[in-house]
C-alpha cells in the first residue's frame, strides 16, 4: 500500500512540476506582473512583421539608439533579406555589411542635447519584456513641464522625446478627480491630435517594432524552436529504445 501512495504522490508531484514549468515558460514573463502590461502579441516568426519593425527602427530610432550587438548581416539573415536589400533600405549608418548597427549620434552630443545618452537597445526586450516595450511606445503624452515637452506614463519623466508622434498623433492626459490632499493622477491618455495612422494601424506598427526588438534581443529564438522539435523527437525515440532494452534485461530480475 505504501508503494501505491508513493507512486501516486510521485505522479502528482511530477505533474505539478511539469505544469509549473509549462506555466512559467508559456506565460508572459514575470516582468509584466508589475502593473500588468497588456500582451504585446509579438511573433518573431512572422518575417513581414520583423521587416516592417526594422524599417520603423531605422527610420525613427537609429538616429539616437544603437543596436551594438546586432550586425547588419545577422539582421539580413533573420529577416530573410539579401545584402543588397539591407544595404539599400535599412543601412543609414554607413557601416559595412558585417558591422554592427551603431547610431550616428555621437555619445557626447547626446548627453548634451538630451541630458542622458540614449541607451543601446540590443537587450531592451530581454531586460524589460516585450509587453513593457510595447506599452511604453503607446504611452507618450504632451507635457509642457518637461524639457522635451513629452512625458510617458510607463516611464515617468523619461528624457526621451517622442519620435513616433507623426504616426500615432499626440496624446494628452485625462486626470482623475483630485482627492483631498492627494495630487491628481492620470487616469488615462486621450488622442488630442490624430497622426497619419489610425489607432489600429499604430498598434500594429508598435507590435512590429517590438517584434523586431524581440528578435534583436534573442536572434537565436528563430532557429531554436525549430531545432528543438527535432531534438525532442530524437530523444523520445532514443528513450523508447533504451526502455525496451532495459525491460529485456530486467526480465532476469525477480
Amino acid at each position: 500500500m505504501h508503494d501505491k501512495t508513493f507512486r501516486a504522490s510521485v505522479r502528482i508531484l511530477a505533474a505539478a512540476l511539469l505544469a509549473m514549468l509549462v506555466a512559467f515558460a508559456a506565460a508572459p514573463s514575470a516582468l509584466a506582473e508589475e502593473g500588468g502590461y497588456p500582451n504585446a502579441n509579438v511573433n518573431v516568426h512572422d518575417q513581414g512583421s520583423l521587416q516592417r519593425g526594422a524599417r520603423l527602427f531605422m527610420n525613427y530610432c537609429v538616429g539616437c539608439h544603437s543596436l551594438k550587438y546586432m550586425r547588419y548581416s545577422q539582421m539580413a539573415e533573420g529577416l530573410g533579406l539579401t545584402e543588397q536589400q539591407v544595404m539599400e533600405n535599412l543601412n543609414f549608418t554607413g557601416a559595412k555589411f558585417g558591422e554592427p548597427i551603431i547610431s550616428a549620434m555621437p555619445e557626447a552630443d547626446a548627453e548634451k542635447w538630451l541630458g542622458k545618452a540614449p541607451p543601446d537597445l540590443s537587450l531592451e526586450v530581454s531586460a524589460r519584456g516585450a509587453d513593457w516595450v510595447a506599452a511604453y511606445l503607446k504611452s507618450f503624452y504632451l507635457d509642457p513641464s518637461t524639457a522635451s515637452g513629452w512625458n510617458n506614463t510607463v516611464f515617468p519623466n523619461v528624457a526621451m522625446p517622442f519620435p513616433l508622434w507623426q504616426l500615432q498623433g499626440e496624446q494628452v492626459p485625462v486626470m482623475s478627480p483630485a482627492e483631498k490632499g492627494q495630487p491628481a493622477t492620470i487616469e488615462e491618455l486621450k488622442l488630442a491630435h490624430p497622426g497619419s495612422m489610425t489607432p489600429a494601424q499604430y498598434d500594429r506598427a508598435v507590435r512590429d517594432l517590438t517584434a523586431f526588438l524581440t528578435f534583436v534581443s534573442s536572434p537565436d529564438e528563430l532557429v531554436r524552436s525549430r531545432m528543438g522539435a527535432w531534438v525532442v523527437i530524437y530523444l523520445v525515440l532514443f528513450t523508447l529504445f533504451a526502455l525496451v532494452l532495459k525491460k529485456e534485461y530486467w526480465k532476469d530480475v525477480h
Binding site: D3, A30, L31, G129, D220, G228, T239, L245, V253
Partner: protein, 422 residues
C-alpha cells in the same frame, strides 16, 4: 574485443578489478525506485557543466570591461554559441533540482544513517562547494544582477565578528566588486572548484561503494547472502542499473531539451532579466534576489530582522543538515516503516522549504495582494508567514531529535527482505 581486454589486463590488472568492483560486481538493491535516478543525473549534469564550461571559456573574456560583451559575442557571433551557453545555464539550474531531490531521497529513506554517515557528509560538502561554484558562475557574465548579487552576498561576511570588514575587502580584492573580484572568481569557478568537486564526487561514490547502497525499504541487503556470496536482494549495477539509468537519462534529457530549446530563461527564473543590463554600480535592480536555487536560504536570511543573526541563521540552516545523522536517532531507516509523525514532519519540511523559496524568489507579494487585496501590508504579512516558516524549518530538526532520542517514535516492523512489485 576479448583480445584487447586480455592484453590490457595483463598490463594493468588493477583497472579491470576496479571495473568489476564498481560495476559488474557492485551489488545494488533490486528495489530502487524513481528517487534513485538523481545521483546519476547529477553526475551527467556535472559532465555537461564541465564540457560546456570549457567551451565557454574559449570565448569568454574574464575582465569587467569585456565580460558582458563577450557573453553577447558567444550568444550571437560564435557558431552555436547560444546552444553552448543555454546548455550551461540550464545545466546549472537542473543541477540544483536534481541535487535537492537527491538529498530529499536521503531524508526519506535514511540513507544518512549508519554506516553511511560519511557518504552524507561528503554529499553535504559537495552541496556547499556547488553553491559556491554556482554563485561565482553567476557573477561571471557581469550583468547588473551579477554585480549586485555579488555585492550583497560578499557583504554578508561583514557579519563575522572582529575581522568581518577586512574579510569582505579580502574576498573582493577591492572596495566594491570589480575586476579583481571577477578575475579571481573566474579562476575559482573554472579551475579550482571543479577540481575540488570532482575529487569530492569520487570520494562520495567511493564511500558509498564501501558500505553498499541503501534502498527504499531501508534494509541492509548484505545481511542475506546467497551461496555465491552475493546479497540475495542485490543485482549487479551493470547491466541492470546502467540500463535503467540510461532510460532515465533519456527522460531527463527530454525535459532539459524542452527547456533549452523552447524556454531557456524559464520566465526569468533560470536567466534573470536584470542580467541583460550591464553591471552598474549606481543603479540597483528593483529587487535584488539570488537565482531561484538559493531562494529558501535567502528567505531565511531576510526574515531575521538583525543582520548578524540573519547571517547566523543562514549558516545554521545549512550546518544543521550536516548534523542530521546525529540528530535522527531512529533505528528504522526508511519512511515506509517510521512513525506517522515523522512522515507528516518530513512532508511539512518539504512544503516549508518550497514556500521559503517562494518568499526568497519574491513571488509572494503578488499572492498576498491576490488574497488580501491591493491595500495589503505586504511586508508585515510576508514577515509574519516567513518567520513562521523559518521556525518550522528549524523545528523539523529539533522535532526529529526529540522524537527519536526520547523514544516517542512508533515504528512498523521492518521486513527481512526487500519488497518489490511485479
Amino acid at each position: 574485443m576479448g583480445a584487447f581486454t586480455e592484453w590490457f589486463n595483463e598490463r594493468a590488472p588493477g583497472l579491470g578489478a576496479v571495473y568489476k568492483k564498481h560495476m559488474t560486481e557492485y551489488y545494488a538493491p533490486k528495489n530502487f525506485n524513481v528517487m534513485y535516478y538523481f545521483g546519476s543525473f547529477a553526475l551527467l549534469v556535472l559532465v555537461n557543466q564541465i564540457v560546456t564550461g570549457i567551451f565557454l571559456t574559449m570565448f569568454y573574456t574574464p575582465t569587467a570591461a569585456g565580460a558582458f560583451d563577450s557573453v553577447q559575442y558567444i550568444m550571437r557571433d560564435v557558431n552555436w554559441g547560444w546552444l553552448v551557453r543555454y546548455m550551461h545555464t540550464t545545466g546549472a539550474s537542473m543541477f540544483f533540482i536534481v541535487v535537492y531531490l537527491h538529498m530529499f531521497r536521503g531524508l526519506m529513506y535514511g540513507s544518512f544513517k549508519k554506516p553511511r554517515e560519511l557518504v552524507w557528509l561528503l554529499g553535504m560538502l559537495i552541496f556547499l562547494v556547488l553553491m559556491a561554484e554556482a554563485f561565482m558562475g553567476y557573477v561571471l557574465p557581469w550583468g547588473n544582477m551579477s554585480f549586485w548579487g555579488a555585492k550583497v552576498i560578499i557583504t554578508l561576511f561583514s557579519a563575522v565578528p572582529w575581522f568581518g570588514h577586512t574579510l569582505v575587502t579580502w574576498i573582493m580584492g577591492t572596495f566594491v566588486p570589480g575586476d579583481p573580484t571577477l578575475n579571481r572568481f573566474f579562476a575559482l569557478h573554472v579551475v579550482a572548484l571543479p577540481l575540488v568537486l570532482l575529487m569530492l564526487v569520487v570520494l562520495h561514490l567511493g564511500a558509498l561503494h564501501e558500505v553498499g547502497s541503501n534502498n527504499p525499504d531501508g534494509i541492509e541487503i548484505k545481511q542475506h547472502k546467497g551461496h555465491d556470496g552475493h546479497p540475495l536482494d542485490g543485482i549487479p549495477f551493470h547491466p541492470y542499473y546502467t540500463l535503467k539509468d540510461l532510460a532515465g537519462v533519456g527522460v531527463f534529457l527530454i525535459i532539459c531539451a524542452v527547456i533549452i530549446f523552447f524556454a531557456p530563461s524559464v520566465g526569468g527564473f533560470f536567466l534573470e532579466h536584470d542580467n541583460s543590463i550591464p553591471a552598474n554600480d549606481l543603479v540597483t535592480p528593483a529587487t535584488i534576489k539570488p537565482v531561484w536555487y538559493f531562494s529558501p536560504f535567502y528567505a531565511i536570511l531576510r526574515m531575521i530582522p538583525s543582520k548578524g543573526l540573519g547571517v547566523l541563521a543562514l549558516a545554521a540552516s545549512i550546518v544543521v543538515l550536516f548534523l542530521v545523522p546525529w540528530l535522527d536517532r531512529g533505528r528504522v531507516k526508511s519512511i515506509r516503516y517510521r512513525g506517522l509523525a515523522y512522515k507528516i514532519a518530513l512532508a511539512i519540511f518539504a512544503i516549508v522549504f518550497f514556500l521559503l523559496g517562494c518568499i526568497g524568489a519574491d513571488l509572494t507579494p503578488g499572492w498576498i495582494v491576490g488574497i488580501f487585496g491591493p491595500n495589503a501590508d505586504i511586508t508585515t504579512i510576508e514577515n509574519l508567514f516567513g518567520r513562521i516558516l523559518v521556525i518550522l524549518y528549524f523545528a523539523f530538526f529539533a522535532f526529529v531529535w526529540v522524537y527519536t532520542f526520547f523514544g516517542f517514535e512508533r515504528t512498523k516492523p521492518v521486513p527481512e527482505r526487500v519488497i518489490t512489485h511485479a
